[in-house]
């Protein structure tokens, strides 16, 4: 290090560059930037944000970026919970799409009662949100007990709600498909008079709370410790089962919030089609963020960036007028590339290349 620091400018630049490349957020951010650049290339006006007016004459921000930020809300919120579940239980919850349907169903039932076109809300929205979150957390608790207490593999345990969840959501609504009063729509769209879409505000709030919790509690340390070595953790006074359970409940809370935002977007819920296939997008977001799906250490910022990356990809394919049925194929192709780039084999291959081409850089071995 000392040798290279007093050397020429190019050397120190190389060092900074190298530190940048080695940073754990480099690949997730780089890929997001790359996708955005492609978008700009296709559509030079991609980054433009304008202030317009909606049909009611209220000021609203309009633009592709705003759409992406707004539409990624559910994905990002779920990715936060999924990151913790992945880290602690070394597996994934595949039931999040179905449990969003349950939470959404509960919210609609609270707001609409047994009517299909109520003109007023049947209960305060805050009550609906709370009960929706409670429903999500109950689902999380169910999954959590199966995983932590009965030691069922997360994917198998969550297969139960994956299969049954959407029907349960339909039952929660009493088999009806009600549409809630327009006031409920503020949370998935705009609050009249305020130009920023509400989902973006909700995302900011959830992300802020997440980082606050990670800073002010030991959730992060405990989750990592249990995911890396649960035997050691239990000998250090931790209760691995309880911590795994807790992460599932937290994911359940995320499901509740996501269900709230999603059902507010069109003020109605079709439990069988709401957030289709989102569980796989969420898991991909976690993987794209540079997290090992085998658990242990996690990178929350990475998962959040991963969520936005996937949303950017989806909206890019939509603007390119790719046939809706063909979207998954393109998505899959791009994701394969991304995941392979981040795989240990490719990483170590490029790592070797770097050390061979720049043998003068002193700290290569220490960190590798």
């Amino acid at each position: 290090m000392s040798r290279s620091s007093n050397n020429s400018n190019t050397d120190s630049l190389a060092l900074v560059l190298k530190a940048l490349i080695r940073h754990r957020l480099f690949i997730p951010i780089a890929f997001l930037v790359f996708l955005l650049l492609i978008n700009v290339f296709i559509n030079p006006g991609f980054l433009r944000i304008t202030l317009g007016r909606d049909s009611g004459g209220n000021p609203v921000l309009i633009g592709n970026l705003i759409n992406i930020l707004s539409n990624a809300t559910e994905l990002v919120i779920l990715a936060i919970g999924m990151t913790l579940v992945t880290a602690s239980s070394r597996g994934q919850d595949i039931s999040v799409g179905a449990t969003v349907a349950i939470a959404g169903g509960v919210i609609m039932r609270i707001l609409c009662g047994n009517e299909t076109q109520p003109t007023v809300l049947h209960a305060p929205i805050i009550l609906a949100l709370l009960l929706g979150c409670l429903a999500g957390m109950a689902c999380g608790a169910f999954n959590g007990i199966l995983v932590s207490k009965f030691k069922i593999q997360p994917m198998v345990a969550t297969l139960i709600l994956f299969t049954a969840g959407r029907s349960i959501g339909s039952m929660a609504m009493g088999g009806l498909k009600p549409k809630a009063a327009a006031a409920f729509g503020y949370y998935g769209n705009f609050i009249p008079g305020f130009p920023v879409p509400t989902p973006i505000l909700i995302t900011i709030a959830v992300v802020a709370v997440t980082f606050l919790v990670l800073k002010k509690t030991n959730l992060g340390l405990y989750t990592k410790a249990v995911g890396i070595n649960d035997k050691s953790s239990s000998l250090n006074g931790l209760n691995p089962a309880l911590i795994k359970f807790l992460t599932f409940v937290i994911l359940g809370l995320c499901v509740g919030i996501a269900g709230f935002v999603q059902s507010s977007r069109v003020q109605t819920v079709n439990p069988y089609t709401i957030v289709p296939g989102i569980e796989m997008d969420v898991i991909l977001a976690v993987a794209l963020g540079g997290n090992s799906l085998g658990g242990g250490r996690f990178n929350m910022a990475g998962s959040i960036i991963g969520g936005y990356t996937i949303q950017t990809l989806t909206s890019m394919l939509t603007t390119l007028n790719v046939n809706t049925n063909a979207v998954p194929v393109f998505k899959a192709a791009i994701i394969i590339i991304l995941v392979v780039i981040q795989s240990p084999i490719v990483k170590s291959f490029f790592g070797n290349k770097v050390t061979i081409s720049k043998p003068t850089v002193g700290d290569g071995k220490e960190r590798g």
Binding site: K215, K216, T217, N218, L219, L221, Y222, K224, A225, I228, N229, K231, S232, S233, S234, L235, N236, G237, L238, N239, G296, R297, E366
Partner: protein
């Protein structure tokens, strides 16, 4: 087997080891952990290839080269491991025959009949159509043996077959072993239960540190000498180095830990034990004698089933490690890799973990606090690490152990349990740790020190609890703490439970 050599990178696992097994004998292969028993067996069964030496088998003129377990089986050498290697979801008959033919079509009725006759012939209480997992572990083991026998094995290797069996099951297994012996099968029996060796074996071969110590007829080798040979000490050949300082006035000191008939789910027999302030106690005994299980019960790492535990005179009910930690107990576990380190976390996080957990979920240390703790102990214990941010995995074994030690010292326990703190680490670090133990004790900490190395225990402990086969069989202190006495006690001590009666 003659003059077998085998080395792994950095380790000489076997050096010039001879081993002879005759027809119709039960031959015990004995040695402490790391003595080379399993390596020798793996060379014999073709899992490892030998570096030098030769293996001769009756009826084959030339020395044989065994390259794979399949080849070993063809030569009539079969192994039954501690963990059952059969398929629990298949039936007994399927397990007996699976993988032995290439026939596409199988007449299962015929198979089942044949299986029945095999099982009957050996007196194994199982039905051919029964699913294997519904049999007891002992029966599963017997089925594995039956499979080996039916493949015309001449040499049967039983690697720790009795460790998960209860007494009745063990005696059933021994009946089967004697039956096979009568049929002319040579059996290699690996175990750490001394009693069992003297019950069924004819000869004993002892290994130590990869070298052959000797081959003995069972009647020529009293138990105490076997213990001595395994530990590598001749009786009477002793340098008296033990630490007498604290043994005299211990009765006047405050009692920190007291157990009364404590036992746990690990199978440990109820034991009585006291630890005083400023005292270093030790649990001595062979591997698997229950040393770790005793301290794990005190720490709440295994579920306590019976008995009482008093800490500083108060009855406590420890149901989980966190409760023990809050009462001032620290436990450095035996298996560093499996139960100690959190490999992917940084050195800093590994150091603060236990204290952090005691502190509570909502009170994380700030980064500066954590760094201060880490720096303090990194310099105090001389931990060699690039930074406190370095992942634990990239440290050497000795330094990892120091990190774990730091973790527990940071909690400032009244009673610290060190289970094999010096295993697998270099001699310099070992001495440092021993000195540290004595220093901590002189400052008033009560310490329990467990080690497989007797000298180390004699040097550091002021009182020794001696264990055999999950029983406490004696307690030595002061003048009695010599290697001779320890070995005699391990070999012939009377269990605490019997003493009480």
């Amino acid at each position: 087997m003659r003059g077998i050599y085998k080395s792994f990178p950095g380790v000489r696992a076997l050096q010039n080891v001879d081993f002879t097994l005759c027809e119709g004998e039960i031959h015990a292969l004995m040695g402490e952990n790391g003595a080379g028993k399993s390596t020798l067996i793996k060379v014999l069964t073709g899992v490892y290839t030998k570096d030098a030496g030769e293996i001769c088998i009756k009826g084959i003129t030339k020395p044989v080269h065994i390259k794979s377990p399949q080849e070993a089986q063809k030569l009539g050498i079969s192994t039954v491991y501690q963990e059952i290697t059969l398929c629990p979801n298949l039936t007994v008959a399927e397990n007996l025959f699976i993988g032995r033919t290439n026939d596409l079509f199988v007449n299962w009725k015929k198979r089942n009949n044949k299986a029945e006759s095999i099982l009957k012939g050996l007196g194994i209480p199982a039905k051919p159509a029964q699913q294997l997992s519904s049999c007891s572990i002992a029966v599963q083991q017997m089925v594995a043996i039956a499979r080996a026998i039916d493949m015309d094995c001449k040499v049967l290797i039983l690697d720790e077959p009795t460790s998960s069996l209860d007494e009745q099951e063990v005696s059933k297994l021994f009946t089967l072993m004697r039956e096979l012996k009568g049929r002319g099968v040579g059996i290699v029996f690996v175990t750490h239960f001394l009693e069992q060796v003297y019950e069924v074996c004819d000869k004993i071969t002892v290994l130590r540190n990869g070298e052959l110590v000797g081959k003995y007829q069972i009647k020529d080798l009293p138990r105490v000498e076997l213990v001595a040979k395994m530990m590598g000490k001749e009786l009477g050949d002793l340098a008296d180095i033990h630490n007498k300082t604290q043994s005299s006035n211990r009765d006047s000191k405050e009692v920190i830990i007291e157990t009364e008939g404590l036992s746990s789910t690990s199978g440990i027999k109820p034991f009585h034990f006291t630890a005083h302030k400023g005292e270093v106690t030790g649990f001595a005994g062979l591997l698997g004698s229950g040393r770790s299980e005793c301290v794990r019960a005190i720490f709440g790492a295994d579920k306590v089933t019976k008995g009482k535990l008093r800490i500083k005179g108060d009855n406590v009910n420890i149901t989980a490690p966190i409760k023990a930690m809050k009462k001032g107990i620290g436990y450095l576990s035996e298996d560093r890799k499996r139960d100690g380190i959190i490999g992917d976390l940084s050195v800093r996080e590994n150091i603060i973990l236990a204290l952090q957990v005691m502190q509570g979920f909502f009170k994380p240390f700030t980064k500066a606090q954590a760094q201060a703790f880490a720096d303090e102990y990194i310099s105090l214990l001389g931990i060699k690490t690039a930074t406190a941010d370095t992942p634990m995995n990239s440290l050497s074994g000795g330094n990892q152990q120091k990190v774990i030690l730091a973790r527990w010292l940071l909690t400032h326990p009244d009673y610290l349990i060190l289970d094999e703190p010096t295993r697998g680490i270099d001699i310099g670090t070992k001495v440092e740790i021993q000195k540290l133990v004595l220093k901590l004790a002189s400052e008033g900490m009560s310490i329990t020190f467990i080690s497989s190395e007797i000298e180390e225990m004699l040097r550091t402990c002021s009182r020794l609890i001696v264990m055999r086969d999950l029983y406490v069989v004696g307690e030595l202190n002061g003048e009695d703490m010599t290697q001779d006495k320890i070995m005699y006690t391990i070999a012939g001590g009377v269990s605490q439970n019997v003493q009480k009666q």
